[in-house]
Every structure is written in C-alpha cells, then in structure tokens.
Subunit: 260 residues, 2 copies
DNA sequence: CGTCCACTTGACAATCGTCAATAGCAGTGG
DNA sequence: CCACTGCTATTGACGATTGTCAAGTGGACG
C-alpha cells in the first residue's frame, strides 16, 4: 500500500468483502490480501488475464487482490457460497467432491495459471485445499462477471479455458471408465509432466505434492493399489520414486500405457 | 426455398461447404440442409440461441441451416476436421471416445438443446453417432465464432453452457471413479429422467434410445453387468423394463442410490 | 423363415479392494 | 536428546465385485 489514496480505494473495494469473508473457510488461514500488480505477474502468458492489453490491467487491479494460503488450508468448500473467483499464481491445490458416505473423488489438481470459478456459479461445486503454500489472485465474482461483459476478449479467454477444462474432463472420463490401474498411474504421471512442462519447462522430474490417497481418489483407486503400482513401476525401472515426486526413466513406455 | 433471391443467398453461404462436406462423415447420410426458421424452433428456451433477441435471429439464419440424419448415422468422427458446430433440435446422439485397442468410453448422450462444438476446436475430440433420427441446426464454425464476438450475450450463453457441461463432467467423474455398479445404473437413470424432464416435462417413463453396451461404455461397466443390474432392479420392483426404456417405480430408492 | 443383433443368464476368473501389520519420517514436548 | 504421536507409505493375505467366456432367447427385418 503506497499512499493513503490507494489505501482508501483498496478498502472501498475490499472492505465489505473482508468482513463477510471472516465467517468463511476461505479466509480462515489466509494472509491478508495485497493489491495486484499485474505487470509483475509470475504467470503472465498462462492465465486468462493475458487476454487483456497491459493498459487494461488496471481494471483487474481495481477489483482484485492477491492472497496467500499455507499448505493444508481450505480455500473453499463444496456447497458454500462463492463470493470470489481466483486465479492461481503459485502452488498446487486439490479439487475434490465428497459423497455423503465419505467416499471422495478428486476432480482435479489446480496449478499456476488455472482459474477457479470458471462457471461463475454462486455456490462451489467442489472443495479446494492447498497441497503446498498457495498464492492466488482473487476477484469478486460479480465484479469479474461484469468485467467479462465489458471485455469480450476476456470472456473469450474464459470460454476457451472452460472448453479446455471440459476436454480434459472428458479425457479423464476415459481414464476412470476404461483403463487399468497401471494405465491410470501412467496417464496421471504423463499428464502431470505435461502440465508442469507448460509452467517450468519439460523435465523428467515430476513433483507430486499430493499424497497417494489423493492420487487414488483422482484415479478411482485405493491407496494400496496406487502404492503397489508405483512400487512395481519402480522395480521395473520405468520410474524412480524420489522425495516429493518421481523421476521418469522410461517415458516412451509410460506414454504407450497412457496413450489416448 | 421460397424465391430465387433466397436460393442465391443460400448457395452463397453453403455452396462451398456442401462441396467440401461431400468427403466427410457428417454428410454421408444427411438429408440436404434447409434454411433456418428460428422463430419456429422446437427448442426455443433450451438452446444457446435463445440468448439472442428475436430480431437477431436473422444473423443465425444467415449462417445456419437445418440437417436431418437417420438413426445410426455418424455426424462426425473423433480426430476429423470440425468445419461446423451444431445445435440439436430433435433426437439423441451418442458421444464417444475410442482407445487404440478398441475400448470405448461414451462421454455423454446429447439431447435436444445440447450444443456440439462448444470448444470451437478445429478438430473433433469425440465421435457423434445418431441413436435415433436426429435434426440439428448447423453453423460454420468460423462464422459462428465471429458471431460470438459480435454478440456478447451469445458468448455468455456459450460460456454458461460450457461451464454447465464441465460441472456435469465432474459429476460423472464421481460416478465413474467412486460408485458401485448398482449406483452407477441408478444415477444414470435419474440423470436421464432429469434431462428429459427439461425437454418433455417430468415423467416416470424414461426412454433409453441407447443399447446396454452404450450404457456400459458410459458408466465404465460391461454389457453383462448393466444387464444384470437392471434385471435385478426390475426383480426388486425398483424399475420396470419396457420396450425402448424403463419405467421408474421407486424413485426415492433410485435417488438414494444416486445421491451426490 | 432365417439371419442378425440386442439382451439375458450362468459359470468361472482376475483385478482390485479390504483388512492388517509394519516401517519411515516429521513434528512435539518432556 | 529422545520418546511419543500421528501421518504417509509399503507390503502381504484374503475376498468380493466385476469382467470374461459361453450359451441361449427373442424380436426385428428382409
């Protein structure tokens, strides 16, 4: 916060939101928000915001702020009101749906550049938990929705991103419905590698910030099966299990197992 | 076709498309296209087009036409170019993805009001086959894409529909990943009932234009398991199997099995 | 009437889940 | 410093849901 005038503007935009947010899971453990600096953004080129001209960033900066969450924080919960939408700038999240009897399905892992709240739904359709410390760029849902109507290119970027997510979701249906445990693991590892490649560049080292249980709940398997398959792949020299991730030794073999 | 002038316009818009379409699966068995009459549309209120004012329909009419396909026709195939997007006005389609080894995943069934090509991808991500005779309202993809940029409300409708599809896809992930065979069947039947309710009004009679194999490929099950589960539900008086569908006897029981 | 295809049913097999025990590791506090 | 706790991961034994294979029925259609 650099001047009184700027602070006043900031409070005007966020005052009420901060207050109402106090009762919500999303702010339980969040560090206080800071004003945006889109020109310094770490994920320029990956996010929907990139569809705006640099001179339009101030529109975003007026309705957005950055927030930081520690690992294990819950950003929001399935079924709760969704006053905000968020753009992830760093860290990793688990997005999951819970059945009444406790069974869980992880519907995705969100990485930098991913957008939470594409649907602009007034309530959250899944729970979002931080797997690592996370930074997000957060906007009031209604403010962002208004901005979409003023900036068709931003709306187009949202449509493209929603369509891309839909395509990924349909690919994941194939994995869940028609692949064996071994193929599921392979396609998960290849998928994670490809996603990190967009962010950090290609590498055979794939960080896995989620637990085996999370992976199982993503692939429709149990922890034990995930563990057994990964151990087997390591025994067969297809991967090496390292702290916090894996190293891919035989990428062609994995791609063959995962192929669509 | 009502006048020479109109015919000339029609040919201008579709001449090249018809020609190039001759080599494509989508026109193999299609009846010749007719100009649109949006005001007579059977699915007004259900489709994205409804976001336009009636006086804007002529814009759609200029770039669209209606087409009819017989049952079992392939509208388009996974991997092929996608020169058109389509709005379904009647009938039912199976949308499926094929693995190299022949395993198949049905990613959805399309009903009147559904839009094919939400992603505006230049190639098709899945195959679409007619389960019944089908009528669609078809637009050139690029023409439709241009129209989106001119009509933000239409783009907003597309975004909403894409977001809704994404939510459904995530719900289906839960079904595929974390539900038993019996629960899968129940949630499929309840889902179909709800979708028909939007179109024809609520009813305990649920038409099933797809085969047991299609249902299995949608739910990640084999034909045999689908058949066994449906027979069992019929034996337990939860449903009655009738020609071309089922009648739901114990909806509360089904909803309990299907509950999210 | 015969063929084809969808559906059903049964017997058996296997993948994957369940249950249980143990190891490893990080954080906590005496 | 080390015991203690709790969580994650691994591994084994066993079991069950679901898949595989096979046979047979019935309806649609030529």
């Amino acid at each position: 916060m650099e001047s009184l005038a700027e602070k006043a503007l900031f409070d005007t935009v966020f005052g009420r939101l901060e207050t109402s947010a106090k009762t919500m899971a999303c702010s339980q453990k969040a560090a206080p928000g800071l004003a945006l600096e889109c020109n310094e953004c770490e994920i320029k080129g990956l996010s929907v915001c990139d569809s705006l001209e640099p001179e339009e960033f101030e529109l975003l900066e007026q309705i957005g702020r950055t927030l930081a969450f520690p690992a294990k924080a819950t950003l929001f919960e399935q079924g709760r009101d969704a006053p905000f939408v968020s753009n992830i700038t760093s860290g990793a999240l688990r997005l999951s749906k819970l059945l009444p009897d406790g069974r869980r399905q992880v519907v995705g892992f969100a990485l930098p550049g991913d957008f939470l709240g594409l649907a602009l739904d007034p309530t959250h359709m899944f729970t979002a938990d931080a797997l690592t410390p996370v930074k997000v760029c957060q906007f009031s849902r209604l403010g962002f929705s208004d901005l979409l109507d003023k900036k068709p290119r931003l709306m187009r970027a949202m449509l493209n991103m929603a369509a891309h997510e839909l395509t990924l979701a349909q690919d994941q249906m194939v994995v869940l419905g028609r692949r064996t445990a071994e193929e599921k693991i392979a396609s998960f590892l290849i998928g994670m590698r490809n996603r990190y490649a967009r962010i950090h560049g290609a590498s055979v080292h794939v960080p896995l910030p989620m637990t085996r249980l999370d992976i199982g709940d993503y692939l429709g398997l149990t922890v034990e099966t995930v563990s057994r398959m990964m151990t087997r792949m390591a025994r067969e020299k297809v991967i090496v299990i390292v702290p916090d991730g894996v190293r891919l030794l035989d990428v062609p073999r994995l791609e063959q197992l995962a192929e669509m």
